[in-house]
Each structure stands twice: as structure tokens, then as C-alpha cells.
Subunit: 472 residues, 2 copies
């Protein structure tokens, strides 16, 4: 809470003289145990919700990840208000966790706000680490050779899946709803990027990740993500300046391609280094540590070159895929993923405000109509991608199309940036959120139906039901 | 970065109109990827340091945890300035991580400060989760029945280990150095609490955790911690008001005792519930999730009743110790601990400012003399505790005394709160920090010598060298 960066240069002793200024929780030693309390309690709620949700979904023969999302909605902004975030316009008074913390600690109003923001930010970063670890695990489970085989198919699927919803969405909004060009383009862009996290988790739970369809979907979702980031950069600069920064667009396209191909090429070399390092280490964590150093470093690079952290983590997993220490790593990463990944899914659910679906509120109606249109475009615009696959007789085109539907976190990023930059008005923002929610919730059961999967998922005491499903 | 809590009630759209006010990274969507970059890069540095340090220590036949601490010192405030925290009076310009982030992102000075504080706070909380998970693991590895057997011995050791350094430190400072009563009492209090984290980790690495000596040390360190918290509360209220809040002191004593005994008694019931729940769950994470829900909940309770989170986590581990699903849990918790615990040890090292040891700086000299005195009291005040053990012929009294020496994180908390409350002047604060650093660094090799442990630690490709050592 410094108004001037030079204040940080003062020693903490001097800073404490500035008592009337609300200090950040890191600075005030009295608040830091309360922030920890908030994080611990949030994690307990998130874990309880995710486990109850996953088990309930399993009972109804639905993918566990859908249960985690729904459980997130229940504990989040839409219902119980236990896990809420300041970005949603939520005040401290709306946070169930903060109410509990306030009842057991005496805090000044400034301290309450500071603790709320700190703990929300920490949970957000843990969720981001969750999706990074998920993509690392998905990378480990993906087969690089098979992914190379489906590379051209995946590129085709991705391009169709970006072009069709973007064109149909933008044109439809301008023609049917008379939306101005820039917001229409922004909304169209929000329709493009597939949520690789949700789709690949469902594929993994169905035991279809290593099928040809699964690999095309994952490959296309990765390329999609890259294309989505490029589209976002273009649209955001368009919204800000009214013109397109061509240099930046070229940088993003070249950068993303070079990053993915480069890491796969370098991977062959690192693979051997990794195995050698693991063999030489004698202390605890000799496998997980080098693996996570690599994964987090690649995620950092992905983030640093203004692509995405998850792209780097996925590439890291893909590269280690053929490593010798991999089988052991596969087992070791599971409990880590089990503890981090649910934070991501529950918070995605918790952030989704189903209140915007309420048709009795007049302001929601305009958004609802546009939302219906966007949902239709979002679903059909991706369904057609299945028919973009060529030279693969007998492939399940429906499953590929359905697998590309969920927008998840990427769509929410679009809505957030669009609303922050002022490009999107409230009805359009609401519609995009509704589109993201519905596509995310609808895809998992549809994907199961598309695969004709009526098999009972393996009921096992073992923690790794998806692993069993893959080998089975 | 809100000056007024009501501002949080505004929607993010409205908040963005208040652009001149520096917003927290959570609120500003442009900063949040930079915070993530900072966290990822910090974790990479921490992991690299911890692994290099641990392996180097192993080479010199020293406990790996000592290597992690030294590696932390090297990457921290004393040398490379890669991992630094705002509490140490460090500005953004001193942070290596922030310099890297600034070179790849364009940020306003306010954004830089905000990102630095957010990222430091997140790493701090991850370190706190690290020590919580460490104590949970230590609890799992401890044998409740054996701990009950040594309960009275441990209580004796703990009481002597609190009384002797406190009395000798306070009296010595007042008589020899003519320190005023309140700062002398504060410094004396800082000499009391043993760092259970460091000691138990070293015991575990030596394969001595389950020995009678090991159990007495761990038990005494837990009681010590509780006594230390009580002493801190008493001293802090004394420093603040000039008198002692008797009600609070009684509350802390009763609360801590009731909490530990209560959780052990209730544990018998929960144990069966835990096994039943684990059996019923069919989705991934069926063991780790319930275990961590329990551990984090207990840690939260420990924190919420103004004791310590680590006390709750330790109790949770102790209780699950006799559970049926325990053997599996033992294996599953390892990679999680391997990723979290090093964050704690490296950051403890990173926060320790060895610059205060430099005798060429005149201001350090007064502190150095007092420091020598405090270190002597700290070491001998705990060494004598070994001779407080009765009715245990043939027990290694030296090992018990040495095991109680390290002050670690608890001592740093005393120094931090003492300096923030104004009770400690600079020389005394510096002396306490030196005492903490030396006792922490000195104990691991001394402990190894005290146990007469010259056996080569098991060189294994398996990640769990301490586990092997225990069974061996």
C-alpha cells in the first residue's frame, strides 16, 4: 500500500511510523497469520467442494471435473459466497471466508480489505499453478509421436475452429444485433479459444486422451490457444488504439510457433540430461525437483515472451514424455496434481456468476438474447471442425467437434480484458460469460455421449482412475 | 491498494476509472501474468538452490537441510539478492527477480512495487504451507504411543530449555550490558523456542526420528513451541502496555494444552472416519485430499485460536499416524513435501542477513558483542536440557541437548515482532538474528556428531533417503 515506490526503500522500522497508511499484509506482521488462515480455510473449502462434487458426478456417471466445476459454482459468487474474488466487484462483506476470519480476529477495515485481497490473490496464483501442473501432466500423458502424426489435422481443426466462430459471431452481432464493429469483433474473438484444460481433463477421465480423436483435440486446442492469444493481442490493440499493431502480430505468430517447435526439438537433448541428472542426485526429491524446475521454467518462458504459461508447461511435459525417469515421474506427479488442479476447477466455477442468467432482472434480458446467439455460434462453430479432418476414414468427427466446444478460462480472460478496456458493454460481457459457462458445462457430458461411452468408469480404491482407464 | 474499503464494493469497471490510484495486482488484469512470472521464476531459483545445496551438503557428509539453508543465504539478501522480501527493508531495485521481470515487461513504478509485494507475499505463504506440510509429515512419521511414553521427559526438557535461556539471557543482558528491563526480557524470550522444523528434518535425515532421543526432542520442541508462543504473547503485551494481560496468558496455556490433548483424543475417532472415507471415494486423490483437508483444517484451527498453524498440522499427522491408509499416504505425501518444504528452508536462509555479522561496520560492533553472549547462552541454555531427562539410563543426553539448539523461524518471528513493536533497538535485533542464524547452522552437524553418526547416508536413486534411513 505504498503511494510512492521510494517508500519501500525505507526500513520496516521507519515504515511502521507511517501507521495511518494502511500497510500491505506482507508489511504488517500482525496480518500475515490472518492471511495464512484465510488461505488455509479457502483450501479446505475448495478441497471439500471438489471432492464432494467429483464423487457426486461419478455417482451420476458424469465426468468428475464437471462435478468440481458445479461445486465451484455452489461455493462461489453464485450461491454460498464462500470463495469470492475482488475482481467480480465483490466486497469483503460478501466473502464467507472473510466473515469467519473477522469473527475470530479483530481487524481494522483497512486490514480486512488488505487480507481479503492478499488471500484472493494467493488462491488465484495457486489456481494458476494448478492449471500449469495440469497441462504439465497432460503433456506427460500425451504421445509426442502420435501428436506429430496428427499435427496437420490438428492445425486444420484449429484454424476452422477459430475462423468460423469468429466470422459468424462478429457478422451476426453486427447484422442481427446492430452492435458496433469493435465490440462485435471483441465478442467474436472471445468465441475462438478452446479450453484445453477442461477438454483434456475430460478426455483423460474418459480414457480417450491417447485415442486419435483425443490427440487431434489436444493438438488443436494447443494451436487454438496460440491462435486465441494472437487474436486477443490483435483485438486488444485494435480496441485501444483503433488500429492493428502489425509488428506485434507477426511477433506473436513467429514467437509461438518457434517456442513450441523449438522446445520439442531441444527436448530430445534435455531428455538425456534429465535422465542423467536424476541418476546423479542422491537427496530427496531427485525426480520431482528437476521435473518441476523444468516445467516451471518453461511456464515462465511461455509467460515471459507474452504467450501463456500453460503452453510452456505443456511443452515441458511433452518433452519429458519419452524420458527414462518418466514412469516414476508419472506416479510422483499425481498427488501434486491432485492437490493443485482442483483449485483451478473450483475457482473457475466460483468466479462464474450465474446471477447474470436470471431473466427476471431487466438488465439481463438484452444480454440473454445475445447470449443465446453466442452460445449457438460457439457450439456449432466448433462442431463443424470435426468435418475439417481429412484422410482419416472412420474417425469420430462428432467427438472432435464436441471436444473443441468448451471455452473455460480463456473465454473468461477475454471477458475480463474486454470489460477492463471498455470495449465491451455490460450486456455483451454478460453474454460472453454465459457462453463460457454453458460451453464449459455442456461439453463434458456431450463428449461422453459422442464417444458412445456408456462403460462404467473403473471403480477403484486406487487414486488414479484415469490412468487405469487409459491402460484399459 | 484501496485507501477505503468501500471502494472494493465498486465494480471493476468503475474501479478502472480511478486509474491514478495504484491498483493491487489482483485488480489490474495486466499485472497478474507478471506476478505469476515472478512466482514461477522465484520457484525455479528456490528449487535449483535447494537441490544444489542439498547435494553439496551430502557430498561433505552434512545434512541436506543445512545445504538448503546455506543455498538460501546465497540466493537471498546476503549475497545474490535473487530472493528478497520487502520486510527486510529491501526495495524493488534490490530484487534480482524483479530486475529480470522489469527487463521483459514495461511496468509503471507503482506496478513494479505492487508486483514485488504480491510475489513476495505469495512466496511467503508457499513457505508457510511448506512448514505446515513438513510438520504434517513429521507428525505422520512420529509414533504417538512412543511420544506418550516420553511425554513427561519431553515436558521436563522443554521447561528447562525455556527457563534457563530466558533467565540467563535476561539477567546477563541487564547485569553485563546494562540493557533496560523490557528489551532484556524480550531478547531473553527470543532465546526460548526451539525450531521444530529444522531439528526434526535433521533427525529424519539421520534416521533418528523414531529413536527415544528423537522422540523426546520432537516432543520437547512441540511443547517448547507452545511455551514460546505463550512467552511471546506475554512479552509482547508487556512491551505494548507495560503490564501483563493475565487473562490472555491463562487462555494461551489452557488453549494450547486443550488443543493438543483434544486433538489426540478426538484422533482415535477421526482415524476410523478417515479410513472409511478413503475406502468410499472413487475419484482421483481419494487419499491425499481427505488427508490434506484434515491437515489444513487443523492448521487453520491452530492459527485461528492464536496458537500456531504448524501445531495443528503436527497434531493432524500424529492422529493419522495409526490410520489404515497411512502407508499409502506416506508415499503420496512425499512428492508434495519435496516441492513445498524446500521453499521454507531456502526462504529462511534468504531472509537471514549475514551483513549484520560484518565487524568492519561500526554499528555492528555493539551488536556483535551482545550476539556472542546470546549465542553462548542459546547453546548452553539448551545443552543442559539433556541432563533434565531422568529415569532413562544410557540415553544420549548430549544429543537431546544439541537437538534443542536451533531457533530458526520462531526466533526470527521474535526479532520481527520485537523490532516492529519498538521494544528492540538495532544492536539487540541484530544480535537476535545472529543468534538465530548460528544456532540454526550449528545444530545439524553437531547433532550428527552427538549421535556418533559417521555412517554414509544411504545413496539411493529412490526419492526418500530419510525413509530408507529410518527402516535401516
Amino acid at each position: 500500500m505504498f503511494f510512492n515506490p521510494t517508500i519501500t526503500a525505507l526500513s520496516s522500522g521507519m515504515a511502521s511510523l507511517l501507521a495511518p497508511i494502511p500497510l500491505l499484509a506482507t508489511v504488517d506482521p500482525e496480518n500475515s497469520p490472518i492471511v495464512l488462515s484465510g488461505v488455509l480455510l479457502s483450501l479446505v473449502v475448495i478441497y471439500l467442494a471438489s471432492k464432494l462434487g467429483a464423487e457426486a458426478a461419478m455417482k451420476f456417471n458424469l465426468p468428475p471435473v464437471l462435478g468440481e466445476l458445479v461445486a465451484g459454482v455452489i461455493v462461489g459468487i453464485s450461491a454460498l459466497h464462500l470463495i469470492v474474488f475482488p475482481e467480480g466487484g465483490m466486497s469483503v462483506a460478501n466473502s464467507g471466508i472473510m466473515t469467519v476470519l473477522q469473527s475470530i480476529n479483530s481487524m481494522s477495515p483497512a486490514a480486512v480489505t488488505s487480507v481479503f485481497e492478499s488471500q484472493s490473490e494467493i488462491i488465484s496464483v495457486l489456481a494458476e499453478l494448478g492449471v500449469i501442473i495440469l497441462l504439465f501432466e497432460i503433456g506427460l500423458e500425451s504421445d509426442l509421436r502420435q501428436l506429430k502424426e496428427v499435427g496437420i489435422q490438428a492445425t486444420f481443426v484449429a484454424c476452422v475452429g477459430v475462423a468460423v466462430p469468429f466470422a459468424a459471431g462478429t457478422a451476426g452481432l453486427m447484422i442481427i444485433f446492430h452492435t458496433a464493429a469493435i465490440p462485435a469483433i471483441f465478442a467474436g474473438a472471445a468465441l475462438t479459444a478452446t479450453s484445453i484444460g477442461i477438454t483434456s481433463k475430460v478426455l483423460s477421465e474418459l480414457g480417450r486422451l491417447k485415442s486419435k480423436e483425443g490427440q487431434i483435440i489436444v493438438g488443436a486446442a494447443v494451436i487454438d490457444d496460440v491462435l486465441g492469444i494472437i487474436v486477443l493481442a490483435v483485438v486488444a490493440s485494435l480496441a485501444k488504439t483503433g488500429e492493428i499493431d502489425v509488428v506485434n502480430v507477426i511477433y506473436l505468430i513467429v514467437g509461438a510457433t518457434a517456442f513450441l517447435l523449438g522446445s520439442i526439438l531441444l527436448g530430445g537433448i534435455f531428455n538425456k540430461t534429465f535422465a542423467t541428472v536424476v541418476d546423479k542426485l542422491k537427496t530427496r526429491g531427485n525426480i520431482v525437483m528437476p521435473a518441476f524446475i523444468f516445467a516451471f521454467f518453461m511456464a515462465f518462458i511461455g509467460n515471459a515472451i507474452h504467450l501463456e504459461a500453460i503452453l510452456g508447461a505443456f511443452a515441458a511435459g511433452l518433452v519429458l514424455d519419452e524420458s527414462d525417469a518418466r514412469n516414476e515421474l508419472d506416479e510422483l506427479i499425481k498427488p501434486v496434481a491432485d492437490l493443485f488442479v482442483p483449485i483451478f476447477f473450483v475457482t473457475v466455477g466460483a468466479r462464474a456468476d450465474l446471477g447474470v442468467l436470471n431473466p427476471t432482472v431487466p438488465e439481463n434480458r438484452a444480454g440473454l438474447l445475445i447470449a443465446v446467439f453466442l452460445v449457438v455460434v460457439a457450439i456449432f462453430g466448433k462442431l463443424v471442425t470435426g468435418w475439417a479432418v481429412f484422410g482419416q476414414p472412420g474417425i469420430n468427427r462428432l467427438a472432435i467437434g464436441v471436444g473443441m466446444i468448451p471455452r473455460g478460462e480463456v473465454g473468461l480472460v477475454f471477458a475480463g480484458i474486454g470489460s477492463a478496456s471498455g470495449a465491451l458493454d455490460k450486456p455483451l460481457e454478460v453474454s460472453i460469460i454465459i457462453m463460457v459457462i454453458l460451453t464449459t458445462f455442456v461439453a463434458p457430458p456431450f463428449l461422453r455421449i459422442a464417444f458412445g461411452d456408456t462403460v462404467e468408469p473403473p471403480a477403484t480404491g486406487e487414486p488414479s482412475s484415469d490412468k487405469t482407464a487409459i491402460s484399459g
